[in-house]
Amino acid sequence: MDLVDVLLRIDYVFLLAAALRAATPIAFAALGGIFSERAGVINIGLEGMMLISAYVCYRVAVLAASPAVGLVAGMAAAMVLAGLHGLFSIRYQTNQVVSGTVVNIFAAGITGFLFRALGAQESAPYLPNISHPLLKSIPVIGTLLFDQPLLMWVMLIVVVVATVVLFRTPWGLRTRAVGELPRAADTAGIPVNRMRYLNVLISGALAGLGGAFFTLHTVSTFTPLMTSGQGFIGLAAMIFGNWTPIPAFLATLLFTLPQALAGQLQMFGVPLPYQLLSTLPYLLTIITLAGVVRRSTPPAALGTPYVK
C-alpha cells in the first residue's frame, strides 16, 4: 500500500489513544525524575525502580489476589530503592549517577533472580480500565479517555497535580529552592536534606506506578527486564520537557506517537524496511532536539550534595 493512502486511512484518534496508553509508564518515570531532580538529586535509577515495582506488583497481586494491594506493595518496593538511592547520594554523598546505576543493576539482578527462583506462572489480577459504556461512545474523547487503563488516568491526574504541587504549593516552592540554591533554602529554615529525601521517595512512588503499568495493566505476569529501557526514555522526556511536568508529558507523546505510527505503517504494509521505520520515534526526538534552539537548563544544584 502506498504511504499516502495509508496515512489517509489511519485512525488518528485511535493512534493518539494508543500513544497515550504507551506514554503512561514513560510519563511516570519522567514525573518521578522531575521531583527528584527538581530537589537536586539526579535519578537515573528510575528504570530499576520501575522494574522492581513491576515484579513486586505482580508477586503481591497474585498472593493477595488483589491488584490494589499489589500496586501499593510495588510502589513501596520502588520507594525502598528510592530511599536507598537517597541514602547513598544524600547521606553518603556518593556520585548520584553511580548510585542510580547501582539501583538499575541491583533491580535487574534481584528481580531476575527471584523470578528464576520462584517462577511467574500464575496470572496477576488486572487493575480495572476506566471504561464507561456511555462516555465511551462520545466521539474522539470517548476513545481517548473512556476506555483506558486506570493508571493512564492516574498519570494524567499526576501530571496536573505535579504541576500544581511544584508551582503552586509551599512544598513545590521549597523543592525548587532546594534544587536551585540549597543554602538559600537552608538559611530560610528549610531542612534541605529532608526535602531531598522526601522528593526522592516521591520519585520512587511515581516510578512504582509506572512499573505497575507493566504487570497490572499490560500483561498479567512478569518477565525479567520487561521495562525495556522505558525509564531511560522517561529521563529523556524529562530533560526534553525542561524538568516541567506538562512539557515532559508532551515529550513522551512525541515519542510514543511515532512509535504507534510506525507500528501502523508496518501493519498496513507500507513498503519501507520495518527495521528503519521503528527508528521513527528516536529520529524525531533527535531532530526536534536539534531544531529546538533553547538549551534545557537543569536545576542549578542538580547532582551536588548539600554540605553545610
Partner: protein, 368 residues
C-alpha cells in the same frame, strides 16, 4: 548534575579508589587460595556412570517461555524418564557460546545441546574441534558435504505449524480480518508467519491478513510485552478477530491484550501455551502453533541413552509429530466440525505432500 561537578568529582577522588579496587580484585583471587578442589560433586562416581547432558542457551534465558525453555523442558523430561543427569548454562553474550560449550566438553558431558540458530557457527566449530563429542542443536541444520557427523541438527517445519494455525484462523474469523504479532524477523519466526499467512489464504482467499514484526529498536527483542499488546490492539482496531502471537514475551503481550477484549481469539506459539500463559489468556487461546522443541531434545537425549545417536539433520514436521496444533481446550465447543475436518484434511495433505506451504526448501524465509 552540572557538568562542573561531574568533572570535579572525577578529578578529585580518583587516587583513593585504585587501591580499593585492586583489593576487590585481589580478594576474588585470594578467595580460592583455598584448595581448588576439582569439581567432583557434579559427577559423583556411582555404581555406573550416569549419562550427562548439558544445555547451552543462546542469549535468551531458560525462562524465555519460548524455545530455550522448551528445549530445557524436553531435557528435564528425559532426566525423569531415563535418569540422566542434566545441567544448563545460560549465555550472556554471543561470545560466551563457545566458552559454555567448552565447559561441558571439559566436564566430559555425553551430549551437548545448543539452542537457536545464533549458535550455529559456534556449535559447528566445537563439533569440528571435538569430533568424538556428541552435539545436538535446535533450529539449525548443516547441509554442505563437510557437515560435521557428530551433530544432530534439530530442525522444524514451523511453516507447517503456522499453516495449520492459519487454516484455523482463516476459518474462524468472522470479520474476515486476521492478524499476527511477531518477534524479530529471524528465520523460525518468519517461517511461522509465512506459513500462517499461506494457511489463511488456503482456506479463505479473500481474508485480510495483518502482521507486524517487532523492530530491532522497539525495546528489548522478544521481550517487550507492552509493544506486543499495542500492536495487537492496532490489529483489533482494524477488525482482526483472530491474532497469531509469535514472539516470546512480546507476542505474549499481544495475547494478554486480546484477552481483555470480547470476541477476539488468539493463537499461541511453540508450546501449547495453554499451559504456560496466565489464566486470563486461557479463555481466548484458540490453539497454539506448536513446535515441539521439547520433543526434539527429548528424542536427542533418548538416542544417546539408547546408543543410537546419529549425526545429521533431523527435521521435525507434521509427519513425525514434531510440529502440530495444540488442542482447542476451553474453546473446544466453539470450533465447528467443518474446521476440525479441514484441519484434518490439511494435516493429511501436508503429510502426503499434496498441500505445500510454499516454504519448502527456502533457505531464507525472511527474504521477501
Amino acid at each position: 548534575m552540572t557538568e562542573e561537578e561531574k568533572g570535579e568529582q572525577f578529578a578529585m577522588k580518583q587516587p583513593l579508589y585504585i587501591p580499593t579496587l585492586a583489593t576487590a580484585v585481589a580478594i576474588l583471587l585470594a578467595a580460592c587460595a583455598a584448595p581448588a578442589q576439582p569439581v567432583q560433586q557434579a559427577a559423583p562416581a556411582q555404581q555406573k556412570p550416569k549419562i550427562k547432558v548439558g544445555l547451552v542457551t543462546d542469549v535468551g534465558s531458560l525462562d524465555d517461555r519460548s524455545f530455550n525453555a522448551s528445549a530445557w523442558e524436553g531435557v528435564q523430561r528425559a532426566v525423569r524418564d531415563f535418569g540422566v543427569e542434566a545441567k544448563a548454562i545460560e549465555s550472556k553474550q554471543p561470545t560466551d557460546y563457545i566458552k559454555n560449550i567448552q565447559t561441558f566438553v571439559n566436564e566430559g558431558y555425553d551430549l551437548i545441546i545448543t539452542v537457536g540458530f545464533l549458535m550455529g557457527d559456534d556449535t559447528r566449530k566445537a563439533a569440528e574441534m571435538y569430533p568424538n563429542q556428541k552435539f545436538a542443536i535446535v533450529d539449525v541444520g548443516y547441509f554442505d558435504e563437510n557437515a560435521p557427523k557428530n551433530v544432530m541438527g534439530l530442525l522444524f517445519a514451523e511453516d507447517q505449524s503456522g499453516f495449520l494455525a492459519g487454516v484455523v484462523a482463516g476459518m474462524m474469523t468472522k470479520s474476515n480480518v486476521v492478524g499476527g504479532v511477531y518477534g524479530l524477523a529471524i528465520p523460525p519466526v518468519c517461517r511461522f508467519r509465512k506459513g500462517y499467512e499461506a494457511g489463511v489464504r488456503f482456506v479463505n482467499s479473500n481474508a485480510r491478513i495483518l502482521g507486524v514484526y517487532q523492530g530491532p529498536s522497539d525495546g528489548t527483542p522478544f521481550n517487550n510485552p507492552q509493544w506486543g499488546a499495542a500492536r495487537a490492539r492496532d490489529q483489533m482496531n482494524e477488525g482482526a478477530d483472530v491474532i497469531f502471537s509469535a514472539g516470546g514475551t512480546t507476542g505474549n503481550g499481544g495475547l494478554e491484550e486480546i484477552a481483555k477484549t470480547q470476541g477476539v481469539l488468539g493463537i499461541g506459539v511453540d508450546q501449547d501455551q495453554y499451559f504456560t500463559l496466565s489464566d486470563n489468556v486461557k479463555k481466548i487461546l484458540l490453539t497454539s502453533a506448536m513446535k515441539r522443541v521439547d520433543q526434539s531434545t527429548y528424542l536427542a537425549v533418548k538416542s544417546v541413552v539408547e546408543g543410537d545417536f546419529k549425526g545429521g539433520n533431523r527435521v521435525f514436521d507434521i509427519t513425525n509429530d514434531g510440529i502440530g496444533l495444540a488442542p482447542f481446550h476451553d474453546l473446544d465447543s466453539q470450533v465447528s466440525n467443518d474446521v476440525r475436518n479441514k484441519v484434518q484434511e490439511v494435516i493429511e495433505g501436508l503429510k502426503n505432500g499434496s498441500i505445500k506451504t510454499g516454504l519448502e526448501g527456502v533457505a531464507d524465509p525472511c527474504a521477501n
